[in-house]
């Protein structure tokens, strides 16, 4: 059932050219950063003579692409999540889902999975794009995979939060703005605690946990953080939809 809802979401995404255009534009952005990454690598490395200054091509280009990807996703994901529930609320199509023999959990998870499938295409393409470096160099696949997992978990967290804000309002654009602001706050939160990196508040920051992935480190505590983040917001969304049924 979750998959059926996910299929429905993907169908509406690709029913209009919107889905394709978003994919194309985002890939174009990532691709251009990949290109500048490679160009810069030659420029910088030709100047770096001492071995300590040399960096591997995977890390150099990978870091360029993945850091910009996480930044672009910060804008892109709220725009994709904004309509997931608020649009249904506005066009009064929620009863269609509510009166089908599906639980609220399945509805919310289905919508989440549908979006994640869409975003996974992007994460996978970025990975594929970077593996083309392997044609000229020996690249560090572990580093790329860790980064991909990190980016994937990051966009999944963005989506979970975006879906929650989408369930709060009837206006997609308000949902987008709210989720963008809160995601942005969560991303930069750790900067306010630069003097004390182990402060518990800094621990809440999304960026802090993404950073260990971007160093190529898959840490179970970071995995747990993302898992908890996603399940918290999905649960809140389910609660919000249940309140519809209870309060009317």
């Amino acid at each position: 059932m979750i998959l059926n809802i996910a299929r429905k979401e993907l169908k509406s995404l690709f029913a209009s050219p919107m889905g394709w255009i978003i994919l194309a534009l985002l890939m174009m952005a990532f691709g251009s950063y990949y290109l500048t990454g490679v160009n810069n690598y030659f420029e910088v490395m030709s100047g770096a003579i001492r071995p300590a200054e040399r960096v591997g091509v995977t890390i150099f280009v990978g870091q360029t692409v993945y850091s910009i990807a996480s930044f672009i996703m910060l804008f892109a994901v709220p725009l994709l999540t904004m309509r997931l529930i608020s649009e249904e609320r506005r066009s009064q199509t929620l009863p269609f889902l509510f009166s089908a023999p599906i639980s609220l959990t399945e509805i919310v998870l289905g919508k989440f999975v549908g979006l994640i499938v869409f975003l996974s295409i992007l994460v996978f393409y970025i990975f594929l794009m970077l593996t083309t470096l392997n044609i000229w160099a020996d690249i560090d696949f572990g580093y790329l995979i860790a980064n991909s997992i990190g980016l994937w978990l990051l966009v999944a967290s963005f989506s979970a939060l975006g879906i929650y804000f989408s369930s709060l309002t009837q206006q997609p654009i308000i949902a987008a703005i709210l989720s963008f602001i809160s995601l942005f706050a969560l991303m930069i939160m750790e900067r306010f605690f630069a003097s004390d990196p182990n402060h518990w508040f800094a621990y809440l920051s999304l960026m802090k946990h993404f950073q260990s992935f971007s160093r190529g480190l898959v840490d179970s505590s970071d995995l747990m953080y993302f898992f908890l983040f996603i399940s918290t917001f999905l649960t809140l969304t389910i609660r919000r939809l249940d309140a519809d049924r209870l309060r009317g």
């Binding site: 299929r7 169908k11 269609f96 509510f98 023999p101």
Partner: protein, 310 residues
């Protein structure tokens, strides 16, 4: 008991402190079409939302074929087809795509989906619209898509909230015959504020006003309420009131306007024949004689007043 497809037991719904639906109980049997009548804001849609599990009742239970809607919502919802007041259609999809999704979500086995979609389209007269975007369809056709969505999984209970809104007269007739067709095998609940529609389609009627169930009975009972043993008679040379009152069976005569009278009579003692005979004999110049049908508003007023007296 096994014939009961739907039971609503003491449904009450509070919005804030305000009671939208008060203590409404009714049941529905297999092969029955129940008309749900009421003025705007009477609580029709609220009741229907509770029946379909879209809204939790504050007090009371809903049972579909004995399955409790609150305890086993999935099993209960699988037996229901629901057309809400605002049609729930995804306008960016084509008719086929949308109905396929509807069939899938209602757990139609994947091998039978195509067949189910075809049957639903045929029943609702949508076969030639398969590949059209729902957005580009006319209002009436969109309504048909919404109805097709409600019956696609062949549900035992079909709940239609104002199904004929926005349709042209020919389509209304088609939809009515469709409802009757569904009503033969399954149960249908139909809400409307058009009384003739109820008379044509429904077996039983229920009238709700301000959240209270004010009338519950067969269609014949309602007709009686509506026709209410009254005749509207017009004469060119009107006789005296007493001459009319002396006719057998007549209980009361009211003057409506010059030459027009409303004649009340005892149950099953229609004086129409006597009036015609007397009119010919005395040359009253009878030009109109017809049962005086009370308007829906009057029926409401009658029924609600009766309820208040009780």
């Amino acid at each position: 008991m096994s014939n009961l497809t739907l039971e609503a037991i003491e449904l009450t719904r509070l919005f804030g402190g305000w009671e939208a639906v008060k203590n409404v109980s009714f049941h529905l049997e297999k092969g029955e079409v129940l008309g749900f009548l009421g003025p705007n804001g009477a609580g029709k849609s609220t009741t229907m939302r509770m029946l379909t599990g879209n809204l939790a009742p504050s007090i009371g239970t809903v049972k579909i074929c004995g399955i409790d809607m609150i305890e086993n919502p999935k099993e209960a919802k699988a037996l229901i087809g629901y057309l809400p007041e605002m049609r729930p259609i995804y306008k960016e999809l084509t008719v086929d795509e949308f109905l396929t999704i509807a069939a899938r979500l209602h757990k139609v086995p994947s091998k039978q989906i195509k067949k189910a979609v075809d049957i639903a389209k045929e029943k609702c007269g949508l076969s030639h619209m398969s590949k059209r975007l729902i957005e580009n369809l006319s209002n009436g056709y969109q309504q048909r898509v919404a109805i097709a969505q409600a019956i696609i999984h062949n549900p035992l209970v079909v709940i239609l909230d104002e199904p004929t809104v926005g349709l042209d007269p020919i389509q209304i007739r088609e939809i009515r015959s469709l409802i009757r067709e569904i009503g033969q095998k399954h149960s249908v609940i139909l809400s409307t504020h058009i009384l003739p529609e109820v008379e044509m389609v429904c077996d039983r009627v229920q009238i709700i006003d301000k959240g209270n169930l004010v009338f519950h009975g067969s269609i014949d009972e309602l007709k009686q309420h509506r026709q209410g043993n009254k005749l509207l008679v017009g004469f060119t040379k009107a006789p005296t009131l007493s001459a009319l009152k002396d006719i057998e069976g007549v209980t009361k005569v009211e003057k409506v306007e010059a030459g027009m009278y409303r004649i009340h009579f005892k149950n099953k003692q229609s004086p129409s024949e006597a009036i015609v005979k007397l009119s010919v004999k005395n040359r009253w110049g009878l030009y109109q004689i017809a049962p005086d049908q009370t308007s829906l508003e009057d029926v409401f007023v009658q029924l609600t007043e009766k309820k208040q007296k009780n």
